[in-house]
Assembly symmetry: C2
Homo-oligomer: 136 residues x 2
């Protein structure tokens, strides 16, 4: 079941400048940055409990965020719903015809299991589902 909005992700061309903007101009708390090697992405989190803003930036200039920035310069990249049983939610959505960007959920930031729904199934919106680790 989907239990909440885990985060919204914003793709930014200048990681440090964007972190500074959300800290200093918007006054949000900066939780820290984390590189997600599997996704070739650097992430920076600003908690707005129980959700958060996640800045995403290409790790070493490569990967899907680099491609997104080349095309669009920056912007709202995806939203992520928190699931309490990601395997069950994926199975349920697959039955309804939803397509996913990977066969099964994979480890992502914050040790969550994570999977993306193909944006063509949701009016062009990239939607992630994640499930926090059991001890979270």
């Amino acid at each position: 079941m989907i239990t909440g909005l885990d985060h919204i992700a914003i793709a930014v061309p200048d990681f440090d400048k964007a972190i500074k903007r959300f800290m200093e101009d918007f006054g949000l708390e900066f939780e820290g940055a984390e590189d997600v090697e599997a996704a070739q992405t650097s992430t920076a989190f600003f908690p707005l409990p129980p959700t958060s803003i996640e800045l995403v930036h290409p790790l070493e200039g490569r990967g899907p965020i680099a491609k997104y920035l080349e095309k669009k310069g920056g912007g709202l990249h995806h939203i992520c719903f928190r699931s309490d049983d990601i395997e069950a939610d994926v199975a349920r959505l697959k039955e309804k015809g939803y397509q996913f960007l990977s066969e099964t959920p994979n480890p992502g930031a914050h040790d969550c299991l994570t999977i993306f729904i193909h944006p063509k199934c949701c009016d062009g919106v990239l939607i992630e589902l994640n499930q926090p680790p059991a001890d979270h």
Copy 2:
């Protein structure tokens, strides 16, 4: 001061189909729809407290959402930060060089005062600030 993420808005080409998707496929609670004449926009809210998903669709086929849909087909349209003093936040951000889409905040959905920051100031992301009515 910015106190939280009020909502994220998704522009959808088929209002009823999208409402059905978020209710039936994602299992979110549907709070109801509201037409915002001043913004030429129909809105539908799915609360995920203390934030919510807001679907936006052109009211009578006109206005800024119609233009967005013509260009992009659908997608993540904007995010909205909740402010406890919108006049002070606007003044502070103007001093830092931020530009806004209107001179002053205007009435929006849910009787909030609302103003949009120009997306060119935020890496292409349209950011709204709103302040709920005093008795909210």
